[in-house]
């Protein structure tokens, strides 16, 4: 059962469901809007189903499909436990960063991320601060001075503006 519900199979199933969902949705549209979805969606669903069958028939112990020619060889760690923990940790950092963006704004979130990530992963204060200054300088120089980017207001910024107005 666990072999059937492996992440590999679930992902293939997800892809299959995406194609099926797309086909169902596109069947409501006029031909000129749905033609490509219908033509290729059927092929995609068929291929995804074939892949799912191949995956299900493959013993769980068998190594996953060899790395495709197009892929950069992995530079992940050899230790699977350390690798898994580090992967989850990195995702947590990324999710945290993205969540912070609407709260404090992109420039602040990014500079804070650079400082905290570098410091938390063994970079000393000097190197962390230097890197942060580099990123902050890049944002200011390129995005503010050259491109005059209009930064969407952040939740915290809006709150502070409200307090100031009061």
């Amino acid at each position: 059962m666990s072999a059937i519900l492996s992440g590999r199979n679930l992902f293939t199933l997800f892809i299959l469901l995406v194609f099926v969902g797309a086909l169902v949705t596109a069947s409501e549209w006029p031909l000129r809007a749905s033609i490509i979805v219908l033509v290729l969606g059927v092929c995609g669903a068929g291929l995804a189903l074939a892949q799912l069958i191949v995956d299900l028939r493959k013993p769980r112990t068998e190594k996953d499909t060899p790395r495709p020619t197009y892929e950069t060889p992995s530079i992940e760690t050899e230790d699977p436990m350390l690798g898994a923990r580090a992967t989850w940790e990195t995702w947590a950092w990324l999710v945290g960063l993205v969540v912070m963006v609407p709260i404090v704004g992109l420039p602040v979130a990014l500079t804070a991320f650079v400082l905290l990530y570098c410091r938390a992963h063994g970079g000393g204060w000097p190197i962390s601060l230097l890197l942060t200054a580099l990123v902050a300088g890049f944002i200011y120089g390129v995005y503010v001075q050259i491109m005059h980017v209009y930064w969407p207001s952040s939740w915290l910024g809006g709150l502070l503006e409200g307090i100031v107005e009061i």
């Binding site: 409501e28 006029p30 000129r32 005059h148 209009y150």
Partner: protein, 352 residues
């Protein structure tokens, strides 16, 4: 005496008003100068690169920066195509006076006028800066296809068109209805350039264009005829007008009204500030737009790239034209919808 005192008083008030206006204008100009100085002014073209809307926007953008107080750096970006671009721009463009969008009248107003379902923007919410009218359209036809145009027993003459509304489509539909043209639309080409290529390789037999050098280029090659012009053009005197071709078959009633109202007729390529933009930004840009239009550099470039017939229209007048273009009687809208369906032209709708 009384009259004279009154006259002097009135003159003084007028003079004062002029001085106040001039002072306000100077203050406004100084404020605008301060505001735009060193900034990037973005012209978002609601069309793919290379077409008429894009060319018009790029020609204007090239000289506009010099006439906006503070001389901001002007950049041009392409975003989506007409309706989808307008749908998104209505909600996503910042009303800070630093982004102006450029639309084709037919493509962006036509679907609004006939209350198409997929439209989620209102052109009248936008601050209309001004517009550029190019020359009227001329229909180009492959000589070898001329016979088929009037013979329904033969394969239809194929007309290349983009996905969005175009005034040339209205001419072809009118030809189909009033003159019995044997036609079939092949639409979906991403830009005018793609239609020209499709014509070159024989994929389509007919298309419409208002751009003088394109018309000349094909007619010169010898296997093409300029079938008719929407209205008389001084640069193509020998091309018969639509009315002349129609002759006594010129329709009256709903068909003619539908043709006249199709695709916002009187509005060509217009420049607009997003909804909720400040009036001072709109005024500054309207003035600088017209100043650009009057400049010698622009006039020369426009004549070269847009044709001799290109004429500027100020913001207020463009706004009025847009208002007029959007108010079409329901029976005319119904006729346009029916005709579009008959000729396989998109309705812009979210469901079938």
């Amino acid at each position: 005496m009384e009259r004279r005192r009154h006259f002097i008083g009135r003159t003084c008030v007028r003079a004062l008003a002029v001085v106040v206006m001039a002072a306000l204008s100077a203050v406004g100009s100084a404020a605008a100068q301060e505001y735009y100085k060193g900034k990037v002014f973005t012209v978002v073209v609601a069309s793919k690169a290379g077409g008429g809307t894009d060319t018009t926007a790029r020609v204007v953008a090239r000289y506009w920066g010099d006439h906006i107080p503070g001389k901001p750096k002007v950049v041009v970006r392409n975003k989506g195509v007409q309706v989808s671009a307008a749908n998104e721009l209505q909600h996503s463009t910042r009303p800070d006076g630093l982004t102006v969008a450029v639309f084709a009248g037919a493509g962006s107003l036509g679907p609004v006028a006939r209350k198409a379902k997929g439209v989620r923007y209102n052109p009248l919410d936008w601050g209309i800066v001004g517009s550029v009218d190019r020359g009227p359209s001329i229909m180009i036809l492959r000589k070898s296809a001329h016979e088929r145009l009037y013979d329904k027993s033969k394969p239809p003459v194929t007309i290349g068109s983009v996905s969005t509304d175009r005034e040339q489509d209205a001419i072809a539909v009118l030809g189909g209805e009033a003159l019995g043209w044997n036609i079939k639309f092949v639409l979906g080409y991403p830009s005018s350039n793609q239609i020209y290529l499709a014509y070159e390789r024989g994929e389509v037999d007919m298309f419409g264009s208002g751009t003088a050098d394109i018309i000349e280029r094909f007619v010169k090659e010898g296997h093409t005829i300029a079938l008719l012009s929407e209205v008389a053009r001084p640069d193509f005197k020998n091309v018969p007008t639509l009315e002349a071709v129609l002759g006594n078959k010129k329709p009256t009633g709903l068909l003619w009204k539908a043709y006249r109202s199709w695709g916002a007729g009187a509005v060509d390529k217009y420049f607009a500030l997003p909804p909720k933009s400040k009036p001072e930004h709109l005024n500054t840009l309207r003035e600088s737009f017209m100043a650009t239009m009057r400049s010698a550099d622009f006039t020369k470039a426009a004549a070269d790239q847009l044709g001799e017939g290109a004429t500027p229209v100020n913001g207020q007048e463009t706004h009025e034209r847009i208002e007029a273009a959007l108010h079409i009687p329901d029976d005319v809208i119904a006729t346009i919808r029916t005709l579009r369906q008959k000729y396989g032209l998109p309705q812009v709708t979210s469901k079938k």
